[in-house]
Structures are given as structure tokens and as C-alpha cells.
Amino acid sequence: MNTKILAAAILLAAAARSQDVPLDLFSGLMPKATGHVEVTLDASLLQMATRFMSGKDPDEAKAKSLIAGLKGIYVRSLTFAKPGDYSRADVEKVRAQLKGWSPIVSVHEADEDTGIYLKTDGEKIQGLVILSAEPTELTLVNIVGSIKPEDLKELGGKFGIPDVGDLADKAGQKKKEEE
């Protein structure tokens, strides 16, 4: 019995580690939202998707190479009817959960708050979080696993994904300018 409980605890811990960011953070805001998008793809689903991705379709081929080293993709996006349906405190609650993640870009404006966070292991990117708080939309993207910046760069123009490395450089320049 104890062994079973221990095994369950280990499994839960492993699952929690692979996801990294608790995605139920948005569940409290769900009743206020007029629409929502949820994407939950763990390693097994990603593998399954890869098997059915065509190597001939350029978008699918790029996506296939990008998700090859990933352990999970989690997206939560809520749409609200009008600005003010969620508060800045709600965003801060989500941000507070990102301890251990390095913010590479953080843009605060009057009604918008956007940030990109990375988890790195040496030079390797082990995870990416995008937190985007717009007046009527709140989005959290968590990509878990080994991500090559050049893969993201390659996807530029395919999914409208810009170069993250480029963003980090610009953010660094801006920080220097501010100093």
C-alpha cells in the first residue's frame, strides 16, 4: 500500500516537473472569460502528432523539427468582453509562479504587460514561458523541453515567430541604454 502511495507521489512529482508552470492559475478567471483556448500536449501526444506530420508540407516539417526535443506544450488563453475584467493582481499571481525562470524580455505598458521567460541548463534552453496580458486577452504559453533558438529562428515567417535570440539582444541593449 505504502509502495503504491510512494509510486503515485513520484509520478505526480514527475508530472508536475514536466509541466513546470501550474496552468490552473487561470481557472479562477475562467467564469469571467468570454472565450478560452486550451492546449495541453504532453510528450506522448507530441510524439503521436509528430508521426502524422508530413515532411513535405513546409510548415509541418518545421513544426516537426521544432517539437522533436520537446516534452510538452501548454497554452492557456482567455478572452474577455471588456478591459478590466481581470486585474493586474491576477497577472502578478501568475508571474509569482515563475520563480526560477529568467525573464529575457519584459514589457510593461499602461494597459499591457508582456514577458518572455526562459529556463536554461548551461547554454541549452530547457523551457520557454510567454505571459501576455492585453486589455481583453490573457495568454500563457509554456513550452517544456530542449528548444534550439535556431529552430525558432527558422520558423520565422512560417508561424510569424521572430528570433528569440534577437529579442534577448534588443532587450539587453535597452537595459544598457536605460543604465
Partner: protein
């Protein structure tokens, strides 16, 4: 009557078969008509409707399972593409903001 006719009559004359002909023939054909020993796979033949039905059910189950997996993979693929689109949009948004802020700070310098 010519000699030829005599020879023909002699040749075609009905003759009784030897007494041991029938038992001899029966002895020779007996092994061929003897029932073959029962094969250990004979039951398959007897149960063929059941075996055919089981095979059909098995094939159907495998087919349904494969189709279910295919649908699940297709949904996963669509979700991957959607997730990448959202990621792309948000990264573009951040880039646009960073570009705007960079432009603004460059403008301030000048």
C-alpha cells in the same frame, strides 16, 4: 470361317475372372480408403465459423483502435499547429513592442 475370325472369337470369348481377383483388388485399395489419422488442427476446421468470427472481431478491434489513434494524433497535430501559431503571435507582439520601445529610446537620444 476364316482363321482370322476364329482368332477374334477366341480372343473375345467371355472368361470368368480368377476366384481371388476381388479379394486381391480389395486388399490393394484398402490402404487408400482407410480413414486418415485425426489431425490435431482438425478442431479449427470444425470451429471455423467461430474462428472466422473471432478473427473478424479482432481485425475490427485493431482497425477501430488504429482509427482512434489516428484521430487522436490528428487532433494533437492541430493542437501543435495552434499552439505554435499562438506562440508566434505572442512573440511577434513582444518583438513589435521591443522594436517600438527601441525606436523611442533612439529618438530620445537624437
Amino acid at each position: 470361317m476364316s482363321e482370322f475370325e476364329n482368332n477374334l472369337r477366341r480372343t473375345l470369348k467371355r472368361r470368368e475372372p480368377p476366384r481371388d481377383l476381388t479379394p486381391g483388388i480389395m486388399r490393394r485399395i484398402e490402404p487408400a480408403t482407410k480413414p486418415r489419422p485425426e489431425s490435431k488442427f482438425r478442431w479449427i476446421w470444425n470451429w471455423r465459423p467461430v474462428v472466422a468470427a473471432a478473427a473478424a472481431v479482432m481485425m475490427l478491434t485493431v482497425g477501430v483502435e488504429q482509427y482512434r489513434e489516428y484521430r487522436k494524433a490528428q487532433e494533437a497535430k492541430q493542437q501543435v499547429m495552434l499552439a505554435l501559431q499562438i506562440t508566434g503571435q505572442k512573440l511577434s507582439l513582444v518583438q513589435a513592442k521591443v522594436d517600438r520601445l527601441s525606436q523611442r529610446s533612439i529618438g530620445h537620444e537624437h
